[in-house]
Amino acid sequence: MKKLLQSLFVLMLVAFGAMAQERTINGTVTSTEDNIPLPGVSVKALGAQAVTVTGGDGRFTIKVSSAVTAIQFSYIGFTTKTINLTSSNTINVGLTPDAKTLTDVVVVAYGTQKKEAITGSVSNITSKDLEKRTVTNLTAALQGSAPGISVVASNGQPGNSAGIRIRGFGSYSSSNSPLIVLDGAVYDGSIGDINQNDIESLSVLKDASSSALYGSRGANGVVIITTKKGRDTNPTINVNFNQGWSTRGIPEYDRLNTLEYYPAVWQAIKNNLMYSATTPLAEAAASAKASTDVATNLVYNPFNVPANQLVGTDGKLNPNASLMYDDFDWYKPLQRTGNRTDANISTSGRTDKTDYFVSLGYLNDKGFLLKSDFQRFNARVNVNTKLRPWLKTGLNLSGAMSDANIASDASTGNGSSFVNAFSFARGIGPIYPVHAFDASGNPIMNTVTGAQWYDYGIHPGAINRPAGASPGRNVVYETMLNDNAYRRSLISARSFVEVKFLKDFTFTPTISMDLRNNNTDQFWNPLVGDGAGTNGYKFQSNNTIRSYTFNQLLSYDKTLGLHHISVLAGHENYSYNYRTFQADRTNLVAQGNTELANFVSASSSYGRADNDKIESFLSKASYSYDNRYFLDASLRRDGSSRFSPDQRWGTFFSVGGSWALNKESFLKNASWIDDLRIKASYGQVGNNALLDGNGNSRYYGDRAFFDLGSNSNTEGGVLLASIATPDLSWEKQNTFNTGVSFSFFGKRLYGEVDFYRKNVNDLIFSVPQPLSAAVTSVYRNIGSMYNQGLEIQVAGDIVRTQDFTWNLLTNWTFFKNKITKLPDETPTIISGTKKREAGHGIYDYWLRQYAGVDPSDGAALYIPADGTTAANIRTVNGVQYVTNQSFAKFDYSGTAIPDLSGSFTNSFSYKGLSLSVLINYQIGGKAYDGVYQGLMSTGSFGGALHKDILNSWTQSNTSATIPRADYGNSTNINATSNRWLIDASYWNIRNINLSYNLPKEWLKTIDVPSARIFVTGENLYLHSKRKGLNPTESFDGVNGNTYPQSRTISVGVNLSL
């Protein structure tokens, strides 16, 4: 005993002595994966009290006594490393990511969860993934990010949101878009107003057990966006600057050039005179008349020979003809090299009681088309503080101001409008110049300005272009003179109070609000176009969205030995208020001012308000045992104002479980297995997102309404708009999900495989009514459908050495959609190019059946519909056909849904250098190429034509597979039919990112702890089956004259200070 005491005493002395001899160790902790400094790594002196964490730059300083012989570095997700101390006071250490420690925390509905405890299907995208992408709108970054998420970039307008579908199509007439949740509450701002640099993570909740807590709004999946928080005790400053240049990313269709155009039109006129005129001419007469008519019909003649001698009776361009000027490329004056600047600075830090994150952002993205741009200022403050050991509170406040000039295109409802630059420039014949020339080919000059006039039909010496060449209009001039702009302002606040009591309970009331103001400004100039007749026109609208979510959550969390239980219960109110006012005036007073006050006459004004409300009760319980077995269940009850009182309440639920097989004794010895778990879940979620025919939200789904505003003179008028549907209720989705996730050989090979089946019941259809009915569509819960899919994500390190790693990550989505039930009274629903019927998919084409070309006159032949009268039948080689499309048979013609879609990401890293390449692809599915159909049609004179028209049937090319071009019968020859379908397979180099972490030694000299420079390319190449075709434009496979996606190359630098 005495000896023991003595020894202790000696030991203590030694200890004291050691304490007296402290030394300071410092160094940097980095990740061996990419050499990036790791902040927040716990640094601990073994056998002593001293503990610290690394700062934002990965650096640490720790004072230890000389008795300490080793230091331990530990960090979530990395293998803990212990370094024995030597005489050196500097320790630079690299931590290796730990495949076995799957303790990543993922943001889920109403909270966070350890990744291993998730029983459903959640894809997580982190700030690190986002760093590689230079996208102005966050939605574009989701493309190719994970299986089961499909994204269409319908439009290249800077700042535009891309369409997202999670696991197929949950709806037909209601919204298919996922719910967007920002920092815990449904977000009613524009996604375009979120600064990508503020984002910590994106969680995509794909199955019912993940999204059931969002009840009536969870059916289409949920994207949870979580913004950054202060994490490091060392205050960090992050500076990010990115400069990019953009050009058109998808080429134009091949169209006839100026020299080819006149002869092609000549041929189509000749065909009209020979085959579709009511008094057909013989070939010689038709050729002669076509030579005259081609000149009168096309009106313009940029050649140096008289118009009626331009095309000979042989159909060839007069060999003496040469161009007097060359001004036919309408894209050239409209396009530019886009310019994208993105600058951000953020500061963050943490004390033991308070954490904060403050950021400022500026983005200016000028599109490659004139007058299309997007500019945004962002600010965010996220502060959380612990006032008492049991009381926490926080506020996450952000503001954004966006200004944009928008180009009109199909996605803004201007598919064939004269002000749509793409439809105009694509569609105008190649003989019509941008600027004005007289008959001798001399430029017509504006004597006042000295500049050449634009050719717009009102300038001196003007002649009108024919109907197909946009007479009286000039998209270049109009784009320059008109304004089409919006201004958005957003304030978004999320606040909470968290009260802990009775040890295991937490009560959290939160209030979240979004206040958004949209201002639309349209000005039509008084010189040319829509404003010319009224001496200028101005439209302005102002609308405000005010939405809030107020919820009260009570949670209980308890660990008892190996058992862990957590329970959540809550109540939530959601309220959305929309208010709009708009007015327009005509007759501009003074040039240069486009505000309403500067216009003489009021033309109209309008205003309305809408409300949308939801009240909910929600609960969730989970249980786990030994981190081996996990179970959870949730229940939510929602009431929605969109339905009648009898139908508005619905109950939604989910159950799920997972099993960590690798933790079982029978696998404990399989050392190559890092992780192996299986999971299954089932649940029901709803969809209340009713839409009207134009894709806008419908807030009142139950009553018969008359539209106001159909006024006649001084008397008010209304028109019937909808009939009563008191039984209308939610769509319900029952989803079964099962999957396995694995990691083998020290994370050399890892991945997840998920299988799901989503049965959608009470599917809402806007059932087309006969045109003879009161309304042309009625919303009903009538159908059932399923979406079934297999999603695979497999990744692995193909090469992994000390300095070099090559990682390949692949996503595979196999997906099938089928309608299982439609009501007896409407067993089939036909709309547009699709037909819906039990046993078929939602995007199955239903088209007239094209059967080829009649070699005798080049007519397009179609398969006759049953019961076609003999008078309408044409027999060719013994087979019966029709040539009037109205008598052609309709049939199923494939689907717009691909067989397989996926992506590959190759990532290479060598020391500080890393390179990643993301390729998206899709195999199978068909696109309906309406743009090509338009370019092949000869409906009116003056329109552009596709090069393929040169291969169409003529009197000397009777074996052609393309029917004759004929200005008299294009409606039948180029009718909407399966002729215009094309394989929608494509591959796309979506993103390449090359980045370099500057070596520490260099940075030391300028006192910068860490810096990264990078080059990024977005949408570098798209390969599709036809030049000009973008199969990713829409989910239903039909395209239009949209703003093509841009190709952006940017360089950037990222500094941590």
């Binding site: 019909n297 159909s710 008028g717 003879s772």
Partner: protein
């Protein structure tokens, strides 16, 4: 104890914060519920006005070339371009949109075809809602009767066009006319009805008009409303179409003798056909500036001085052979200009095109407003023409001569009464009819009702390429019969067979 209270309080907060029932009760602000509309005759009258506004408003049925489709007004223009008397130099609206070249009637998916069909059915269905609900509304019987009478007239008016487009012509010598026409939708509950015969549709039209006439509504706030004179005028028009000349005579004469809508003076005749104040306008649209539509209005397509690209570049011309038959002293000769110059045909700006035989019949109502005007649905001049034609075709030539002279003497102050008889008299009346009603939607229907061929080859100034060389269609050809729109067939399992 304190703690327990606190927890109990918290729990209560969570569970009891459920909101009041009203929280979830919302309503729109740009729509009115059906129940509110038919609470009173004042409100129900708004449905009538909605229909009247719909008749001149740019269509929303299709998004394709909607500017050239201003409600019923656009249809009247469209069918005039299917004749030979109204034409233009280029294949633009009303020809390339499928009318002038007869593509839209024969294409079941054509936007113009869909628009014609739907426009009239939407009027019919709104009228049906009125007829079904008006009795329960509060208000005087007089008001109820007025609203009812107008609804019947509107319904008959709409069916009178549908039956002529989608059925072959009514043939009085082949009664009953069993050829298929259109579905007969007569109540708000009627849906997916089968096509019925031409005879049945006409029976219904007559029944509706007889009800409207029996209610004998002679007062109205303005000419947007269809009074008993309109009902009678329509009854005469329908009788003429059915070759029921005695009734055509009866009702046309009643309107004329009623004296409510006397023929215009020569000065008024030259004022642009755009104003409800003109005495012979019986029924018309009266859009205000706010209800006007710069590009999607009747006058934007036909008024010579409408400042639209379409009118600047594409003046509307008259059949020059028809023009040549107008007497030099006839005021109607001034409606067109065979050789327009800056001096004899001034135009608002230099960018307007001049063409031989271009029209100045229609003008915008207010100088400066690009395209506003009151669209005439019915003028009393038509009644005189119906009367004359019905007398002539009924063999009462002397009465026909007098009836014709009643009109012509107003148009041509030096005219003398025609002494023609038989076919020659009918021809003279028809020439007058074509001249008088040019641009108002009659010629195509006349060709069809009289089983005449379309012969544009007889029009010296017709531009063949403006209609893809569709210059002659034989009488009774299938092109005179519209195909039922595909959207109706797709959604109506009971529709029956498509037209041949």
């Amino acid at each position: 104890m304190k703690k327990i209270l606190l927890y109990a309080g918290l729990l209560a907060t969570v569970l009891a914060t459920g909101c009041k029932k009203e929280y979830l009760q919302t309503k729109p602000t740009d729509q009115v519920a059906l129940e509110e509309v038919f609470t009173s005759t004042t409100n129900a009258n708004a449905v009538l006005n909605g229909i009247y506004a719909y008749m001149f408003t740019r269509t929303t049925t299709t998004t394709s070339n909607a500017q050239g489709k201003p409600g019923v007004a656009g249809i009247l223009l469209g069918i005039d371009f299917m004749g030979e008397d109204v034409h233009q130099a280029n294949a633009t609206w009303f020809t390339s949109t499928g009318e002038g070249n007869y593509v839209s009637p024969r294409t079941d998916t054509h936007a113009s075809n869909l628009y014609y069909y739907r426009t009239f059915y939407r009027m019919i269905n709104n009228a049906n809602y009125i007829l079904d609900n008006i009795d329960a509304a509060t208000g005087t019987d007089a008001e109820k009767n007025r609203i009812k009478a107008e609804a019947y007239t509107i319904r008959a008016y709409a069916y009178s066009y549908l039956v002529q487009f989608y059925g072959t012509r009514y043939d009085a010598s082949a009664k009953p006319n069993n050829q298929l026409a259109v579905p007969l939708v007569l109540t708000s509950a009627d849906i997916a009805k089968p096509r019925v015969s031409v005879e049945q549709v006409y029976t219904q039209i007559i029944a509706d008009l007889d009800k409207a006439i029996a209610l004998n509504i002679t007062t109205k706030t303005n000419k947007t409303h269809a009074d008993v004179w309109v009902a009678k005028g329509l009854r005469a028009r329908v009788a003429l179409t059915m070759q029921d000349y005695p009734n055509a005579i009866k009702y046309a004469k009643e309107v004329i003798d009623g004296g409510k809508y006397p023929l215009m003076s020569q000065t008024d005749y030259q004022s642009g056909f755009n104003n409800n104040g003109l005495s012979e306008f019986m029924w018309c649209a009266m859009p205000t500036t706010e209800q006007g539509d710069t590009f999607g209005s009747y006058y934007a397509q036909i008024a010579y001085n409408a400042n639209t690209t379409y009118m600047r570049g594409t003046p509307k011309m008259i059949n020059s052979a028809l023009y040549d038959q107008i007497a030099a002293t006839d005021v109607r000769k001034k409606m067109w200009e065979p050789a327009p110059t800056a001096a004899n045909f001034p135009l608002p700006t230099t960018s307007f095109t001049r063409r031989a035989y271009m029209s100045r019949k229609f003008s915008v109502k207010t100088v400066g407003d690009p395209s506003l005007g009151d669209v005439p649905w019915m003028r009393s001049a038509e009644m005189h023409l119906i009367l004359a034609e019905a007398y002539a075709r009924n063999g009462q030539d002397v009465l026909a001569q007098a009836a014709l002279f009643a009109l012509v003497s107003k148009r041509d102050l030096s005219a003398i009464q025609s002494i023609k008889i038989g076919t020659a008299l009918v021809d003279e009346i028809m020439i007058n009819r074509r001249v008088e009603l040019w641009g108002e939607g009659f010629r195509y229907l006349d060709l069809k009702r009289l089983n005449l061929p379309l012969n544009r080859n007889a029009v010296p100034n017709y531009v063949a390429t403006s209609v893809s060389n569709v210059m002659a269609i034989p009488a009774g050809d299938s092109r005179f019969l519209f195909l039922i729109p595909r959207d109706e067939i797709n959604a109506n399992p009971n529709i029956g067979p498509q037209n041949p």
